[in-house]
C-alpha cells in the first residue's frame, strides 16, 4: 500500500541535522530521516526548529569584543 504523509522537507548540512536530532530527543519532530542532507519533519514543529537551530548556531559563533559604539 502506498502511504502519503504531509510534512516539511528540510534541506540542511549535517551539522544542522545533528542539531535537529538533538531537539528530537525532547519532542517527536523527525518523521523520517531521508538521507545525509534531508529530513522529513512534522510541519507544526518547523518554526520551533528554525528558532532553536538559529539559537544554537548563534551560541557557537565567535564574536569580537568591540568597544561599544560611542554615539547612538
Amino acid at each position: 500500500m502506498v502511504k502519503v504523509l504531509k510534512g516539511v522537507i528540510i534541506k540542511c548540512d549535517s551539522t544542522v541535522k545533528q542539531v535537529i536530532y538533538k531537539l528530537n530527543e525532547r519532542k517527536q519532530i523527525i518523521i523520517e530521516d531521508l538521507d545525509d542532507t534531508h529530513l522529513f519533519i512534522n510541519e507544526k514543529e518547523l518554526e520551533e526548529v528554525k528558532i532553536e537551530v538559529e539559537k544554537l548556531l548563534e551560541e557557537n559563533t565567535y564574536k569580537t569584543d568591540l568597544p561599544p559604539p560611542s554615539d547612538k
Binding site: V2, L5, K11
Partner: protein
C-alpha cells in the same frame, strides 16, 4: 543604472506597451504626449518616424517593410537595431503594417505630432502659462531645493531616518503597493529588498518607477483616467523650468494629480489653491531621456545650497580589510542608507566612521536586502581613491558578507507530501516518472522507495495513482489489488 533593475517596472516603455490600443490612440490625441513618446524612442525609430511623418498626407507613398530596410546598412548590427525599432513602433502602435503590407503611421499620432512640430492647431497641451506676471517668482535654485527636499523626504522615510515627518497618503500607498516597504512586526513600515534596490537607482529612474506605480494606483484606487494621468506626466516633461503655468487650464483629475505631484517634489505651488504652479527639475527632465544629466544637475545644484559635497556623486566610501568603513559624506540620506547595514561609530564634520559587523549585516539580511545588493552599493559608491586598486573592495570583506548571507540559509524548508511504502519497484518508478515529468518532485530515493512532491503537485499525483488503480481493476489483472493501494491521504500517521 536602469538595466540593473528587473524587480519592478522602471521603464515607461513597458508600461506603455502594456496599454491596449484604444488607450494608446486616446493618448496620441495630445501633442505633448506624442512629442514625449517620440523622445523616448530609440534614435533609429525616431529617424523612421521623421522620414515618414510628412509624406503621407501630401502624396500617399506606399512603402513596405522591405523598402524601409533599404534605408539601413546591410550589417547585422544595423539590422538588429532596425528590427528593434520597428518592433517598438508597432508595439506602441505608432507604425503598423496594413493588410497589403504597407507601412501606416497611426493617423492621430501623425496629425498631432505634425501639429506639435509645426506649432499648428489650437491646443493647451504644453501647459498654459500665466498671463499676469507673478509677484515674487521663485527662482530655479529655489525650485531645485524644493524638489530635492520633497523627494529626499520620501527616500528618508524609506530608510527610516529618525525625525522625518510621515509622508502623504499617496506616498504611503505607492511604497506599500510597490512593495518598497512592508509592515514589520510592530506595524512599522520597514524597507524591503526592492526598496533598497530602488535607493540604488539614479533620481530619474526613481521618479519614473514611482510615477508608474502611482499610475497603477491612480487607475484602481483613485479612479483616475490613465490617459489623463499619462498626458499630465508627459505635459510636465515638456514644460520649462522656472516658468509659471496656470492651474485653470487643467482638468479636475489633473488638479488632483497636481497636489500629489507637488508632494513628490515634481511641481511647486506657493499654497494649495494657488492659481499657478511651477514644474521642478525632476519634472522637466522626465522625458529628456538623459538621466545622467539630471542627477548631476540636481546634485550640483544641491551641493551649493545644502552643503552636500560634490564627491557624493562620484563615490565617497572607503572600506578597509579590517571591516572599517569611512564615508566622506554629510548627506543624512547617505548616512541613513549606510546605517541599514553598518554600525555607525563616530560622525565627524565631513565623514562618518562605521563598522561592518556580523550583526549589522544580518540585520540588513533580515530585511531582505541581499549580500549582492550591499556589495554593489559599496562598489558603486566607492571613493575614487578606492578605484585605483584591484579588486576594488577588499576580498575578505566581500567574501565575509557573502558567508554571512549563506549562514542564514543553512536550513531550507519546503512543505510537501511524502510518498512511501510502494509495493514494488515498478510501481514506484512509474509514479515517480509521472511526477518528475510534471516537475513536482523535490526529493526521491529509489532504495527506500520514497519520494516527495510539492504541495500543488500532490493533487495531480494522487489522482494519477487513483486512475492507475481503477485501470488495473477494470483490466481485471490478478496483481491489481496487490499493486498500488489507495493512497492514505491526509493526516500524518506515523507508525
Amino acid at each position: 543604472m536602469p538595466t540593473a533593475v528587473t524587480h519592478f517596472k522602471t521603464n515607461i516603455y513597458e508600461c506603455l506597451e502594456a496599454l491596449p490600443k484604444p488607450t494608446l490612440d486616446q493618448l496620441y490625441k495630445e501633442p505633448a504626449t506624442c512629442l514625449a513618446i517620440f523622445r523616448l524612442l530609440p534614435p533609429l525609430a525616431r529617424q523612421l518616424v521623421m522620414s515618414l511623418l510628412f509624406t503621407q498626407p501630401i502624396s500617399p507613398v506606399n512603402l513596405t517593410q522591405s523598402d524601409l530596410r533599404l534605408w539601413v546598412k546591410n550589417e547585422e548590427e544595423a539590422l538588429a537595431k532596425f528590427h528593434e525599432a520597428l518592433d517598438k513602433l508597432s508595439k506602441l502602435s505608432i507604425m503598423t503594417t496594413d493588410s497589403s503590407g504597407y507601412i501606416q503611421i497611426n493617423s492621430s499620432f501623425r496629425e498631432r505630432f505634425q501639429d506639435c512640430l509645426t506649432g499648428g492647431g489650437d491646443h493647451q497641451s504644453f501647459g498654459v502659462s500665466c498671463e499676469r506676471p507673478a509677484k515674487d517668482k521663485p527662482d530655479i535654485a529655489f525650485l531645485d531645493r524644493h524638489a530635492m527636499k520633497q523627494w529626499e523626504e520620501i527616500l528618508h522615510f524609506m530608510v527610516g531616518t529618525e525625525s522625518t515627518r510621515q509622508p502623504s497618503a499617496a506616498v504611503l500607498k505607492v511604497v506599500t503597493r510597490a512593495k518598497l516597504m512592508k509592515e514589520g512586526k510592530d506595524k512599522q513600515l520597514m524597507i524591503t529588498n526592492k526598496g533598497f534596490q530602488f535607493l540604488l537607482q539614479d533620481v530619474n529612474t526613481q521618479v519614473w518607477a514611482f510615477l508608474i506605480q502611482y499610475l497603477d494606483i491612480a487607475d484602481e484606487l483613485l479612479h483616475m483616467n490613465v490617459v489623463e494621468v499619462l498626458n499630465f506626466f508627459f505635459m510636465l516633461g515638456s514644460l520649462e523650468l522656472g516658468m509659471d503655468y496656470s492651474v485653470e487650464a487643467l482638468t479636475p483629475t489633473q488638479k488632483q494629480l497636481l497636489d500629489d505631484l507637488a508632494n513628490f517634489g515634481l511641481a511647486y505651488r506657493r499654497k494649495k489653491g494657488s492659481s499657478r504652479y511651477y514644474p521642478t527639475r525632476l519634472a522637466t527632465t522626465l522625458t529628456s531621456g538623459n538621466s545622467a544629466v539630471v542627477s548631476s544637475a540636481v546634485s550640483s545644484s544641491t551641493s551649493t545650497t545644502t552643503g552636500d559635497d560634490g564627491a557624493t556623486e562620484q563615490g565617497f566610501i572607503i572600506v578597509e580589510t579590517n571591516y572599517k568603513l569611512y564615508a566622506y559624506t554629510e548627506s543624512k540620506l547617505q548616512i541613513s542608507v549606510l546605517r541599514l547595514f553598518c554600525e555607525l561609530q563616530t560622525r565627524f564634520a565631513n565623514m562618518v566612521y562605521a563598522l561592518i559587523t556580523r550583526d549589522s549585516v544580518r540585520k540588513a539580511l533580515k530585511h531582505g536586502i541581499t549580500a549582492n545588493q550591499i556589495i554593489s552599493y559599496l562598489t558603486s559608491h566607492a571613493h575614487p581613491q578606492m578605484k585605483k586598486q584591484t579588486p576594488l573592495l577588499p576580498p575578505t570583506v566581500v567574501d565575509q558578507i557573502r558567508l554571512w548571507e549563506m549562514e542564514r540559509n543553512r536550513l531550507v524548508a519546503t512543505e510537501c507530501h511524502l510518498y512511501k511504502e510502494f509495493r514494488n519497484q515498478g510501481d514506484y518508478e512509474m509514479v515517480l516518472r509521472h511526477a518528475t515529468n510534471l516537475g513536482f518532485v523535490i526529493w526521491s530515493n529509489a532504495k527506500k522507495r520514497m519520494f516527495s512532491v510539492t504541495e500543488e503537485g500532490h493533487e495531480h499525483v494522487r489522482n494519477y495513482i487513483k486512475k492507475k488503480i481503477a485501470q488495473r481493476k477494470t483490466n481485471g489483472g490478478g496483481e491489481a489489488g496487490s499493486g498500488i493501494g489507495t493512497p492514505n491521504n491526509g493526516s500524518p500517521s506515523v507508525r
